[in-house]
């Protein structure tokens, strides 16, 4: 079932009507509703391509935190590269040479990684879901 109103994803977080996400992201608990009910959001983290270093680290840390494991414990959390090459997404979504990509259109990309679903959003939010 697709949510027909895809652009209203952050209206869910109450009165903060139009996009003040940028300014308030620390106060708000952002959400990205995904289009089926098999997943429940368990963590979110913000990646800032201007100040943070690699996207891979931000993604792995968000998932490891959701699982309550050490990001370097390969027995709990295998190399992300076995699931996806995030370097490609880093260039596509968060290119610092074309920063307006992040502002003009909100895109998301989702993939599965060690029993979790991960959604990356062009505004830098990373969402982690586990199966219901």
């Amino acid at each position: 079932m697709k949510d027909k109103n895809e652009n209203s994803d952050h209206e869910a977080s109450a009165e903060s009507a139009d996009n003040t996400l940028e300014d308030n992201w620390m106060e708000n608990e952002p959400q990205e509703k995904i289009d089926d009910n098999r997943w429940v959001q368990v963590n979110q983290a913000h990646y800032d391509p201007d100040t943070d270093r690699e996207l891979v680290t931000a993604v792995v840390r968000a998932v490891a935190e959701a699982k309550g494991v050490d990001p370097l414990d390969g027995s709990e959390i295998p190399p992300l590269y076995e699931s996806i090459d995030v370097e490609i997404l880093e260039d596509t979504f968060y290119s610092t040479s074309q920063p307006n990509i992040r502002d003009t259109e909100r895109g998301i990309y989702s993939f599965q990684y060690c029993e979790h679903k991960v959604v990356l959003r062009t505004d830098g939010w990373i969402f982690v879901y586990e199966p219901r």
Binding site: R53, E54, V56, L72, Y81, E82
Partner: protein, 132 residues
């Protein structure tokens, strides 16, 4: 498109070579393995990469800076190079060593010879002065 059928035994094609050397952290790893028979342990290697990137001494690298690099090496750069047969990662010892295609990629790197990279190579080939 992440990883086509890499053939570990064949000579790498140019696309694969450019993938291997297409990130400064991967080039750093390759420079550390210039010397035959050299093995590098991941935690120390991560500290060296962080020191290089942040232009500070290894002793001044914070735990968080070291971990950020360690996570990215473990979760993406090392598996990517290992899939190309450019390095071998030995999980039990947590080290990287030369592999079947190391020499070919290093030959290309030598000819690329930018000034910045030759300083990176010098840095990479020095030994960690911080003995733990």
């Amino acid at each position: 498109m992440a990883h086509p059928n890499w053939n570990m035994d064949a000579v790498l094609n140019l696309d694969e070579v450019f993938t291997a050397i297409g990130h400064p952290r991967r080039r750093y790893l390759l420079y550390t393995l210039v010397d035959e028979g050299k093995e590098e342990a991941l935690p120390e290697l991560a500290a060296k990469v962080a020191a290089w990137e942040l232009d500070k001494t290894i002793a001044d690298v914070t735990d968080d800076e070291q971990r950020e690099v360690h996570i990215s090496l473990y979760h993406t750069h090392i598996p990517k190079l290992a899939a190309l047969g450019v390095i071998e990662y030995r999980e039990s010892e947590n080290i990287i060593v030369r592999a079947v295609n190391t020499e070919q990629v290093q030959a290309v790197l030598n000819n690329a010879g930018a000034e910045l990279d030759s300083r990176q190579e010098t840095h990479a080939r020095t030994t960690d002065e911080r003995q733990e």
